[in-house]
């Protein structure tokens, strides 16, 4: 691997990212999958870095999943998106940051389509006006929330409590970065570092002291693919993709995987249990799996937040090995205690993969 070559490519895919005043839209599913992630994002931007981030309760789904499942016509999806832009315009913002990768891809695709077909944009404006009497400005800047963390990665590193370094050995942790397909595969220029060698998560890992694992199947989909997972008959296809990725990364013995997509961490995390059940194979050390984190969760750990406040107990694969390697102080007994140390009950633990 020629690092200079990658750097050259990264230098070609740089995005203009304003430093402040963002209009934030949440993901439909992330709050259920990894509930602390979006909370952590607002925490970091507002409280740690002191930035202006605006949210509105009127925000709805962007229609992305339905669009990709072929259950929604494109014009409908566009009108939904137009409404989101209208909400942003009404709030007086012009920098739009979605939390969801599919949303990000959806917005990027729609803005690009309007660029190519202005008459379509005019029609959507008309649709929106007819539907809810709203008007909108297109966002001046569109970024994904991981772009922002990437943008502020050095600021976060400066405030870091725990770096991605094993305090006992001094060795950097080996981290797999997995980018959501809709981040840059459609428009390489819309992603930090492009589509082939994306830098958005790699940059965070580097800044926070870790070592990026580059493995042959790094480009491959996590296996979620809406039409695969959501149709039960196709789930074998879904898990097969995940399996392929794990088989490919296995020789590198990664310490953790970080992702920037709603579905990826969920499937990379949960499928490890199913793979263990079906094949008896686990990919971490000593019968554990490989911990899968969102970049917000990782940022939270780096900044020294309590792992249980970051919702890491909701992961299928035990995160404790990673916490140990990072030197994070945690109370094992508090794992299943909620707010005010209230017992939130312990889940049944699987036999095939080691969990706490």
């Amino acid at each position: 691997m020629i690092y200079e070559g990658k750097k050259r490519i990264w230098s070609e895919y740089q995005k203009d990212i304003p430093d402040d005043h963002w209009y934030y839209v949440r993901s439909c599913i992330r709050q259920n999958f990894f509930p602390a992630s979006e909370r952590m994002f607002t925490e970091i931007t507002r409280n740690v870095l002191g930035k202006d981030l605006y949210e509105t309760p009127h925000h709805t789904t962007c229609g992305g999943i339905a669009y990709h499942c072929d259950t929604l016509p494109q014009e409908t999806a566009m009108t939904i998106v137009a409404r989101q832009f209208a909400l942003m315009t009404e709030a007086g913002y012009e920098n739009y940051v979605p939390s969801c990768i599919t949303s990000f891809g959806n917005y990027a695709e729609i803005l690009e389509t309007w660029e190519e077909f202005p008459e379509l944009e005019a029609k959507i404006r008309e649709n929106l006006w007819k539907a809810c009497r709203r008007e909108f400005q297109k966002p001046k800047y569109l970024a994904h929330s991981s772009d922002l963390i990437f943008h502020w990665r050095d600021a976060i590193a400066a405030k870091a409590k725990h770096l991605l370094v094993n305090p006992h050995t001094g060795a950097p942790l080996r981290i797999v970065e997995h980018i959501g397909c809709h981040y840059a595969k459609m428009f390489p220029s819309k992603g930090e570092g492009g589509a082939e060698y994306p830098y958005v998560l790699a940059g965070m890992i580097e800044s926070w002291g870790g070592e990026v694992v580059d493995y042959p199947e790094r480009r491959h989909c996590c296996g979620y693919g809406f039409r695969q997972y959501h149709v039960k008959a196709n789930r074998g296809y879904s898990i097969s993709n995940t399996y392929k990725k794990f088989e490919s990364m296995e020789p590198y013995h990664p310490d953790a995987i970080i992702t920037n997509c709603p579905g990826c961490p969920y499937f990379l995390d949960r499928w490890q249990y199913v793979i263990a059940e079906q094949t008896g194979k686990t990919y971490g050390e000593n019968g554990f799996g490989i911990p899968v984190l969102t970049y917000e969760e990782l940022a939270g750990l780096v900044l020294g937040y309590d792992p249980w406040n970051l919702g890491l107990q909701l992961h299928q694969v035990a995160v404790e090995p990673l916490l140990d390697k990072m030197g994070v102080d945690y109370d094992p007994d508090a794992k299943y205690l909620g707010v005010n140390r209230e017992d939130i009950m312990r889940p049944e633990l699987p036999k095939s993969i080691r969990c706490y």
Partner: protein
């Protein structure tokens, strides 16, 4: 083991590192012209058995190179020799077929 109602399916990808080329190489040693097939498909198009078993000498050669099964294709070959007549490169298709059958 929990039954999830679905399972990991075998990859459709041909893993060239794992393909056993022994049979192909053995056949090529005995029928050197097998190597010069250029996959034009004349043999398949003229094949008498093609409608019944999907026979195609081109595909047989390719399948040998990719470690795929050739039995189904060969199962209806009548050895009529139209393929050798049609082949523009002079591949000795009939000997190839017989040699493969001997080595299976």
């Amino acid at each position: 083991m929990t039954d999830f109602g679905f399972s990991i399916s075998k990859s459709a990808t041909i893993d060239m590192d794992a393909v056993d080329m022994e049979l192909y190489e053995r056949v090529c040693r005995q029928v050197p012209s097998a190597r010069i097939c250029m996959s034009c498909g004349s043999c398949s198009a003229s094949c008498v058995a093609a409608p019944y078993s999907g026979m195609s000498v081109r595909k047989v050669i390719l399948a040998l190179q990719r470690g795929k099964d050739v039995r189904t294709m060969l199962s209806n070959c009548m050895l009529c020799g139209k393929c050798s007549m049609a082949c523009p490169r002079g591949v000795n298709t009939r000997n190839l077929i017989l040699t493969v059958c001997r080595n299976l």
